[in-house]
């Protein structure tokens, strides 16, 4: 129910709007009321920068905004527990059985489910959905190929079984939890409507172009409208097999400017603002209408070095650079709200990750840095370049490091560029050092160990561009072996110990100085209840008003 204060505000706004509008359109507008700009009771309204959306194909999507929308419109086999992201809970698979040798997992699927198109969901749909990810071979295919599924074998290794079951046949005894986290709870296992997609296939694209502007899957919500760079509408899927969401609509308006998001949130025109700046967040902290909520996400911000040649090829130089980062100072200033200091590649909250203290042993220490440089053969310092993109915190972090480096004779020249340009340069190994973010999709140390540490082939012509370790020209065969061993280690205690060893070793000589683990932060109106999220998912269906 609207309280009296709200009514007064609403009436004042109505009167004011009419006044100004009437001045412009005089008689045309006379008497026309302008509606109250409060969010509807049965809808979740968000302001968010959704510029990055370019497709809704789970096989292709690689950025967080679309991933979140898909997670709320397309069921996966399993899901992350809202309360503890390390736990995997049933979703479209109601349960699963694992063979004694851990090489076969049988998923028991929900029965009687239907796609919004009316087509029944079959085990064949689920198997086909996984096959198409591998066959289309976009970036997300690596999620499956890493576990031995290839274009040639995927139809024999992921198969629809009898009685609504789906069977994974693995080539190695991978830890089951890791398989569930990496594949079953990942967008690659989103259940797609084969019949609809194949009816709209163009040139053997398995429905990829069709999914550029729409979805074709089963989930608590369905995408009913997307105007690029403008707005997104999700509506509750009436025939959903699971529990119906409390809020019937999710309305997302594209608002790129954080200051504008703040205004909309303060005025109650949106329930949630997703891209507020630290200044806005600080100001809103004391608001009686808005709460600031944050959760650690599996994204790391790091300073990566090209170790092919020059000063950064020396381990001690790379270690020295870590002592130039003012973790504490930056954590309390620029990065308040945005993230927490973290030096280990395994994010806090992941299985096998070092705790907060062990995983961040560094502090700003110019003497130590100077001593390490001297030992490395650079007593008077050196000159190098540092490139970074358009993330708002990149420039102040780079400048902070630059100032500290200058004090020990290291002259860093900074260059800011468009993210697309930054990625191109780093992927092409055309850099000396760079600052950028990296996100894993797995709450397990293996997620980042397999990319930031492991490098299967360091030759330039191997073009292993999906590995940040390759981009940094870093390969350590002993570390590679340890990553392999940790992956298949069955004993959780031994596995944790192996990852602890890899993390400590990598913090000393790895090609990246990890700086911060980032937060998801949002301003949420207090009349929106049960805003639920963890590092891997935001659960629109659990929100209420």
């Amino acid at each position: 129910m609207t309280n009296r204060n709200d009514e007064i505000v609403i009436k004042r706004r109505l009167a004011g709007r009419e006044l100004l509008s009437a001045a412009a359109v005089a008689a045309l507008c006379a008497g026309a009321g302008v509606a109250v700009a409060a969010t509807p009771k049965n809808a979740l309204v968000m302001a968010w920068n959704v510029d990055a959306i370019s497709t809704f194909d789970p096989a292709q999507v690689g950025e967080v905004v679309t991933n979140e929308i898909l997670q709320n419109t397309c069921d996966t086999l399993a899901d992350f527990d809202p309360a503890d992201e390390r736990k995997v809970v049933p979703s479209f698979a109601s349960r699963w059985d694992v063979s004694p040798d851990r090489k076969e997992i049988t998923f028991h699927l929900q029965k009687g489910a239907k796609f919004p198109s009316g087509n029944p969901v079959t085990a064949e749909d689920v198997a086909w959905s996984l096959h198409r990810v591998v066959k289309l071979n976009f970036g997300n295919a690596a999620t499956l190929t890493e576990f031995g599924f290839t274009k040639d074998n995927v139809e024999q290794t992921i198969v629809a079984g009898p009685n609504d079951t789906l069977v994974f046949k693995l080539d190695k005894p991978y830890p089951t939890t890791l398989v569930l986290q990496s594949i079953a709870a990942n967008r690659v296992s989103m259940v797609m409507d084969k019949k609809t997609l194949m009816a709209n296939e163009q040139g053997g694209d398995l429905g990829n172009k069709y999914l550029a502007t729409r979805t074709a899957c089963v989930g608590p919500y369905k995408l009913t409208r997307w105007n690029a760079g403008e707005s997104i509408v999700l509506e509750a899927n009436d025939g959903y097999w699971g529990k119906a969401p409390a809020l019937k609509r999710v309305l997302i308006r594209h608002v790129a400017e954080p200051g504008t998001q703040r205004l909309l949130l303060s005025q109650g025109d949106v329930d949630v603002a997703r891209d507020l700046t630290p200044e806005d967040l600080k100001d809103l902290e004391g608001s009686k209408d808005v709460s600031i909520v944050k959760v650690l996400k599996p994204q790391l911000f790091f300073w990566t070095f090209n170790v092919a040649d020059g000063p950064f090829s020396k381990e001690k130089v790379r270690l020295a650079m870590r002592y130039l980062i003012d973790y504490d100072g930056l954590g309390k200033t620029i990065m308040t709200y945005l993230g927490v200091p973290r030096a280990s590649f395994a994010q806090l909250g992941a299985v096998g990750a070092l705790d907060a203290k062990e995983g961040q042993p560094f502090k700003l220490d110019l003497d130590k840095a100077k001593q390490l440089l001297t030992e490395a053969g650079y007593p008077t310092g050196f000159e190098a370049s540092l490139i970074f993109g358009t993330l708002p915190h990149s420039a102040p972090l780079a400048q902070s490091v630059q100032q500290n480096a200058a004090k020990i004779g290291v002259k860093l020249s900074l260059e800011r560029m468009a993210n697309a340009q930054l990625f191109s340069k780093v992927r092409g190994r055309e850099f000396q050092s760079a600052m950028m973010a990296w996100q894993t999709g797995v709450p397990d140390a293996h997620g980042n160990a397999s990319r930031l540490v492991y490098n299967p082939d360091n030759r330039a012509e191997a073009k292993q561009t999906q590995y940040p370790s390759w981009r940094a020209s870093f390969q350590d065969k002993e570390l590679n072996a340890k990553v392999d061993a940790a992956l298949l280690e069955g004993d959780p205690i031994k596995r944790d110990a192996l990852y602890a060893e890899i993390q400590k070793e990598t913090m000393a000589k790895g090609p990246m100085a990890i700086m911060f683990q980032m937060n998801n932060v949002a301003g949420v109106r207090k009349d929106l209840k049960s805003w639920t999220w963890n590092g891997f998912r935001t659960y629109y269906e659990l929100a209420t008003k």
């Binding site: 100004l20 509606a35 510029d51 690689g62 760079g229 308006r253 504008t260």
Partner: protein
């Protein structure tokens, strides 16, 4: 008998005219139009290819295997020589196919058809406000040169010129939307209405009228009035200063003194005689202002979450989406060429010497 027939019939004292003059003019305009757009397309296309932005990464993200990268590289035709890529592009343009926008997954034409009405609507309201205030203020400033009115207009003009629209937009939102509640917030319309309106023309003011929904129309007006006024402010500053300058020159002419000596009122002298002589220049200034507004006011569109052309073009540029960039650049070219043509036509209306 037609002029062509006369020319063909043999020697004559009349000048030889192979083609009628309107046909020659049209041909000249068409040729100039084609050369301008082709040059613009070539320039944008080749500069785009030289930019260190990777369209493949824009599509697939940076976490992509080299195999997938190469496949997309080929799919986008980037493995072909530049002249082949350009030829294919121009062939598509001739068929009104500007290719697919990498950042939205939709045809560039469809994207432009979606975002451009929002910008036209905003720019049109802005230019109406800017012109209807700017011209009278400029004329009055010239008439009362050095007076308090002239000083106020000068200061207003200075602020309009120098204050960034981005800042003005945010301040305007804080004051008129958040504090006073007089106008609608960011966006073209409240969410409540946005999804109940089926677009017909893409212009919300017109579509809401066509739907007979006055409440929605009022809401759309309340949303457009602030960003349009902010944009109008800078146009107003430009138009009023230029109008003042043109008018001052006219007011120092002898015919003005003569008219006054003969007893004509100030208002009649200025509006009836002097203004007619500056109309051509004022039209040029207004047309230029309108063209700049139609290009899209990126910062204003960003602050007001206005899904317009300027923001679309900027995002495409930053993402290395060259199909969208070239398509938008061609559209900007068309806008300028078309407005130039319109100006030419208006010159003929206002100045008999140019007919």
């Amino acid at each position: 008998m037609s002029r062509t027939a006369i020319a063909a019939s043999g020697p004559s004292s009349e000048p030889v005219r192979i083609l009628p003059s309107w046909l020659k003019i049209s041909g000249r305009i068409l040729a100039s139009f084609t050369v301008t757009l082709l040059g613009l397309a070539a320039l944008t296309f080749f500069i785009g290819r030289l930019l260190p932005l990777d369209p493949v990464v824009a599509v697939l993200g940076d976490n992509v295997t080299q195999e997938a990268y190469q496949a997309m590289y080929k799919q986008l035709g980037l493995d072909q020589p530049l002249y082949v890529q350009f030829g294919r592009y121009i062939w598509g343009v001739l068929h009104l196919d500007f290719g697919m926008a990498l950042t939205t997954g939709k045809p560039v034409m469809a994207d432009i058809a979606r975002v451009f009405p929002a910008t036209i609507e905003l720019a049109s309201v802005a230019i109406v406000i800017g012109t209807s205030l700017g011209i009278p203020l400029g004329v009055l400033s010239a008439m009362y040169r050095g007076s308090w009115l002239d000083q106020i207009v000068r200061v207003v003009g200075l602020i309009g010129y120098s204050a960034p629209n981005f800042w003005l937009g945010l301040m305007g939102l804080v004051l008129f939307y958040a504090t006073l509640g007089w106008v609608g917030g960011p966006g073209r319309i409240d969410f409540t209405y946005e999804f109940d309106l089926e677009p017909v023309t893409g212009f919300l003011l017109i579509d809401s009228l066509l739907a007979g929904n006055w409440e929605m129309f009022g809401n759309a007006v309340s949303h457009i009035i602030l960003p349009a006024s902010i944009l109008a402010f800078s146009s107003l500053a430009y138009i009023s200063r230029m109008t003042r300058s043109f008018m001052m020159e006219q007011l120092s002419q002898e015919y003005v003194v003569t008219a006054r000596v003969k007893g004509l009122s100030w208002a009649r002298t200025v509006w009836g005689h002097a203004f007619r002589n500056i109309a051509v220049q004022v039209v040029t200034v207004v047309a230029l202002s309108y063209a700049f507004l139609l290009e899209g006011a990126v910062l204003t569109e960003t602050v007001f979450a206005w899904p317009g052309f300027g923001r679309y073009l900027t995002n495409a540029l930053l993402a290395g989406d060259m199909n969208a960039v070239v398509g938008c650049t061609l559209l900007v070219g068309v806008i300028f060429v078309t407005l130039n043509l319109l100006c030419d036509l208006l010159y003929r209306v206002f100045d008999p010497r140019t007919r």
